[in-house]
């Protein structure tokens, strides 16, 4: 399957950043392409696939057991050594896991694109079809929730400190 070979590595990288585990990332990516094969769907582009694996990865994170394991992994290592000095570009998985537990699905998806994928609001609007207004409101809500959650339990790797 050509699109698997072409886009698979990029999608595995993306899922690994979210989940911190390459085996889970491969599971998600392969599961997506198996489903696409079953539907005979091969005229898809990278943005479409990016969105699809984002939602699948979020479902994985929502699983209660996975959240516990992710937090356990986060306690052992806060950032990959090769990214030391560049934490600004990598959203903390601990932050992601905690916020997934309290945000609605749309907010969570927007949060991932903004903070895990470093997308601008314009890019998020193009990818998702949500209006800029909706995205702005959701990001404001995320900011409030994050402030509330993290004020008593600061992150080891502060969600890169970028403005919402």
């Amino acid at each position: 399957m050509d699109i698997y070979r072409r886009y698979g590595p990029a999608l595995v990288r993306k899922c690994t950043r979210m989940l911190g585990n390459i085996q889970d990332a491969e599971d998600i990516v392969q599961g997506l392409f198996v489903d696409l094969l079953k539907k005979g769907k091969d005229n898809v582009d990278l943005p479409y696939l990016y969105r699809a694996v984002t939602n699948r990865s979020l479902n994985c994170i929502r699983n209660r057991n996975r959240r516990r394991q992710l937090l356990g992994d986060q306690c052992r290592s806060s950032a990959h050594p090769q990214n030391e000095g560049y934490e600004y570009y990598y959203f903390s998985r601990e932050a992601l896991t905690r916020l997934v537990a309290v945000l609605d699905k749309k907010s969570t998806e927007i949060m991932v694109y903004r903070f895990c994928d470093n997308m601008t609001q314009e890019e998020i609007a193009q990818l998702t079809g949500y209006s800029r207004k909706t995205i702005g409101k959701k990001l404001a809500g995320i900011s409030q929730k994050a402030e509330h959650i993290f004020k008593d339990a600061p992150l080891v790797n502060n969600g890169n400190g970028r403005r919402l």
Partner: protein
């Protein structure tokens, strides 16, 4: 120069840039930004220098006659499903009675690569002959030393064992209670040499669920007794 910029290039854009899928103008803008921003350069480098190898999609696996291999399957149409169901009900009991359920038939040697959920299990052999190393050789002499590596996708440590079949004999050149942490081409500890002048099959048995198969049963049953999660490579003696 700051290590990061206020508006980093998104990972999606960087991937598209790497794949050459952006229009000329956008690609030019991103290229110029990356050239001047160490942080975004670092991110693009991590994509361009990624040595990750994508495992094959475990969908279409050729079935070998007589072998029972786990595969991903298409959901067949209802009519086909009915036909398959009827076939299974009538043929399967006979098949199971004759050939058993969990092992390889003796006329089918397990392949060197097997697709499983999550990736592949694969054996790679290396022959060291007087300092010259050959990967996945097909022949042996008595002066060669062999190392094995295993690729497997399972989480955590898995136990394994190595069995070497020559004629009617079977040998276990590695120690007992071996385990590895799965990954790509993980070296199996130890090396072995082969003597004799018979066709030889070297197999690695993988036990991800702690249900391992005893060496006694393999000595008794031969290749027939290998568990399903076995990968093998075959070597022929070289004429000296």
């Amino acid at each position: 120069m700051s290590a990061h910029c206020d508006i980093p290039v998104s990972w999606l854009r960087l991937e598209q840039f790497h794949l050459g899928e952006l229009d000329v103008q956008t690609a030019r803008v991103i290229g110029a930004h990356v050239d001047g921003c160490p942080g975004c350069r670092h991110c693009l480098d991590s994509i361009e220098n990624d040595t990750y190898v994508l495992p094959p999609l475990p969908v279409f696996e050729r079935r070998e006659w007589g072998a029972r291999v786990r595969t991903w399957m298409y959901r067949p149409a209802p009519l086909a499903l009915s036909a398959v169901g009827i076939l299974l009900i009538t043929v399967l009991p006979v098949y199971l009675a004759v050939f058993g359920t969990t092992h390889w038939r003796s006329d089918v040697v397990p392949p060197s690569t097997m697709a499983v959920k999550g990736g592949v299990v694969e054996i790679t052999s290396e022959r060291n002959r007087d300092g010259e190393v050959t990967t996945n050789p097909t022949t042996y002499t008595s002066r060669d030393r062999f190392h094995l590596t295993l690729t497997c996708p399972f989480v955590g440590d898995v136990r394994y064992d190595v069995a070497v079949f020559q004629g009617d004999a079977v040998f276990f050149p590695m120690g007992n209670e071996q385990s590895i942490t799965c990954g790509n081409e993980v070296p199996l500890s130890g090396a072995f040499a082969l003597t004799g002048n018979e066709e030889t099959t070297v197999c690695v048995m993988v036990f991800p669920d702690e249900m391992d198969v005893s060496r006694t049963s393999i000595r008794t049953g031969g290749i027939d007794a290998l568990p399903l999660l076995s990968v093998c490579t075959m070597l022929s003696p070289e004429e000296i």
